[in-house]
Symmetry: D3
């Protein structure tokens, strides 16, 4: 349950070296390496093509139409962090723009994932400050009601703890619990190595049906070929 | 209330000089300068990144699946106008394509904002004719039922009078009533001047918490820092 | 009605020469040439701007969260085919990524239209493998439940028979039954020829009102001009 | 454009006798009598079947997640009023529940139309206090940011002026400008008289094709009967 | 592909006796009996709880905002028919109300399934005329543009041929091709007989795990019980 | 992060007496008593009006189109439990119907909250077995892929731990962590006592403006009354 009005200062961040390892993979690869879990909902989209970020989560719980807590979160940022902002209700207002991006970057943040709206898209694109959001909206926000910073949040359907690794790219956003980051990085590397070989075979015309030995299971399941 | 079957020929357009002033700002800045009002809903998106337009509104009320009134509107266009098209019901059909864009441009129009669908996106992009729409759709339309031109309309949740200033960019679409355009342009300029200084401070690592003097109000609201 | 667990091997593809003719037109032109029918719903969007494909449909019926049939479909592909994948329920999972694209391309496929999710967007864009989908999602899929290949499917609201011509571009996706392809190609060519002349007139400032002789019908319908 | 922080006390309400006349019709009849305009979007649904209300609009502009202005509006209510609440952004929070309903009813209000959420549905149903809303939600709201009362608002896509007649039933919500109420009431009465006769004929098996003399126009439009 | 402007008079209806057999089952049972296919999308909802209908399809293709073809369809109705109305684009207008219902009933129709809007819900409920629709809306429609009657249509994602059996209840709408109706009725009966026994066992506390012998497969799939 | 293929047998349920206390309140009251948190998203709706349930959560993680884990969950149920089912992706299939309801009830379950579809609505209503779901759908499901039972899940945007109190009614679904249940029950009781008095005052015509002493703060915020 959300406790409001709280800022947790000391959070345990995933190990930097592991974050860097994970950052070399795509979100799909890491999601598969985790056992096909960890994804936010696909309505979260990057504000520009090619956006990519991997960092340790500083979490923010926002109130609708109110971005007060974003400023509170700025102070808690450390280099390599990515801000993950949830809201107590569905809201598409423009909680974030180029001024906050300037501040977040000055503190070392590598991006923002926000289950809300974002504005100043042209400037953010020019700055190469990557944002994943549910909407783009000029709508301004007030600074009146407390949320929290660095509590566990649910963002776009996925629970995120402060310090978790968050990896985002063109395909979406995946969350890796800090405690599992090392193991997942290993699994992702193994998977990726594996993919190169598969890709080469498929490019030569080998069928997945043969490469993955699917013909037997398909027949067993009752698949029928007709002419 | 909408009166159907009406074309108003003489509308009072916002002053050209003021429109040009407003056109230098982003939609978020102008929205803030108006007191955080005037925005269309964020489902209105530009058909290509970087689209930007600012003009005086010629309004169109469409019927679903029918773009007859777009042709009627073309005749009412003057250089510097932007067409704002509403519909009597939610409809995503392709009311507008490159032929109408050619006609609108020949009449001096600077863009289109349509609470409906748009097609010929590739051609429109090549022409640099900016359109903000709720959908992209090849779906063709008929020419059978009257709507109106240059009546007050509600487009994407915002009321627009003919002659109002409409400013649209990557962040969305904002409507400035003609009677307020001068005042809003002034407020936007003041705001923007102000932003440069703020941005510099934030870039140096100054926190919004301090720059905006938020620590007191946050404490008064009950914010607690824990370790 | 869908029959599950079926792969039809011998399908009658539309004539290659006609497919190539149709491929020169946009989806809006072909849709108009068909009498304003044949479109999938506009939620189907290309994964990158400028995507374009025209081919003969190999159809796939998927089960939610399961991409087994995509591998079965790969074997049925011939050069010039486009895969059209429907699902038995609304589902946005990432049924397709760069490995399958590599396989499909090796078999000669020119693109994919999928009423589901797609992943590896960055790689697919780099490969110039065009995909139209309802969503982009990293979400992985299983290989457990039979669908079918090369049965008649409904994809994004449009029925598609194997062998039909499917043309997709920035504006959407249009389906031309194989039996009508030649006739539609002719009508599209006539329409396009016609469009060049219209465009030139409109660019010179001629109004659609006059070019299409709309003033009489508008007056008859009761349109009133006021000042 | 919305002016925030304003409460207009003296509004011109539509004539009570006309409101009562209009209240005898359904929303569809009144919408047709207006020339097929005046409807809010169909996402506005009554919280219980059979809900019906017709009154003079007291308008409220809300901020997201904030119902402060509902209390301000209560003081402006007169017997026979219906509250019409818009919001500066899409928001489904529970701005209204049984306490406010008790207050509104004590002031003589006959119902609420809110482009937001409503809660205490069971109690409101028991009270027979009719509400049309975009959502039902327990989500509570704060009282921090000013909106306005009795300014012109856009609610669910329709502009509403204070004092307008608002009629809502199972089919939706229609807004009749105060200045047109008398004329619309007359047209609605004529239409309804007309409907009884039509209904009787149709019940006897007379076809609309004949009753409305559609066969000629259909043939002229090119309709073909085949066997 | 849709051919517009066509009314097919002679359609082959599924056998009445079989329709009556199917009408005794729920939509879920029939869908399962067909092999888990045949359903329209779940956005199709009955206008009142407990609505139930089973009949032979007379199909209608509508144009957006235009209900002309509904009147054309009325003439083609025979006792026991159910009207299935599709539209060339997504549209929620109120194509159907109590007058058309009176006409349809006079012709013997048992209900309507419409991928569009419906109005006069209170009257239709009082008449016990069941309708499944995507929306409820007072929005009136014109009579200007041809669609077709008794062509194959796609309604809410499902293809329907004239004469097919359409069964609709609280759970949704299922379509049974006329040629398969007898076989499906038999399978549904077998399934339902089967269900009574299962229900009794489950009510006594027998677990599905045991009744369906799932423990082995679950263990084989790797399920682990922990404390 | 979700671990798949796990069934936790021993969970710590909230105290029965406290669950019963909480069950006397509405979801809005409990949500307020928690400090305005704990709600699932408002797309979760009861399948019949007046549905009400309060129990201890047995959680289920489903895979799309697959209800295998529902049978696994049945075995873990104890009297007073409510099943909370999440899914690894958005899916509206009919995971649950009257057979599973019979089984769940035989095990003592008081209801189901499912971020997916439900079917057999008529039977479930007749049984008075309350369900809150995101959709109603006849669509059947397979039993092929493992999820988990009694792990922490995110259901409709809210995190739920096994053993938490889940209270659902016409207004929505609220989750109370087991550890806070006693405290929340106390706060809810205090709040409700308080509400009776407020209701009486409001019914007598006292304004919220006065009862809540809002006039000062409104004036301080700048509210202006005009005539």
């Amino acid at each position: 349950m959300y406790e409001l009005g709280i800022v947790k200062r000391n959070i345990v961040r995933a190990d930097r070296a592991v974050v860097d390892q994970l950052g070399k993979f795509g979100s799909a690869t890491v999601h598969e390496a985790m056992g096909r879990v960890g994804l936010m909902k696909p309505y979260m989209r990057p504000i520009y093509p090619g956006a990519h970020a991997c960092g340790t989560a500083v979490t923010v719980l926002l109130q609708p139409g109110d971005n007060w807590m974003m400023h509170v979160a700025a102070e808690q940022l450390q280099p390599g962090d990515i801000v993950v902002a949830a809201c107590t209700t569905d809201n598409s207002d423009g909680f974030f723009g180029d001024l906050l991006a300037t501040s977040f970057r000055a503190r070392g943040a590598v991006g923002l994932v926000i289950d809300g709206g974002c504005r100043d898209v042209k400037d953010l694109t020019a700055m190469h400050f990557p944002v994943w959001s549910r909407a783009i909206s000029s709508k301004g926000t007030v600074k009146s009601t407390l949320g929290s910073v660095n509590i566990a949040v649910v963002c776009a359907g996925m629970s995120v703890d402060p310090g978790d690794v968050v990896l985002a790219d063109d395909d979406g956003v995946v969350v890796v619990p800090a405690s599992m980051a090392q193991k997942v990085a290993g699994a992702a590397a193994a998977r990726e190595a594996n993919e190169g070989e598969k890709r080469a075979k498929l490019a030569q015309g080998v069928l997945g049906l043969d490469m993955y030995k699917m013909r037997g299971p398909l027949e067993a399941a009752g698949l029928k070929y007709i002419d």
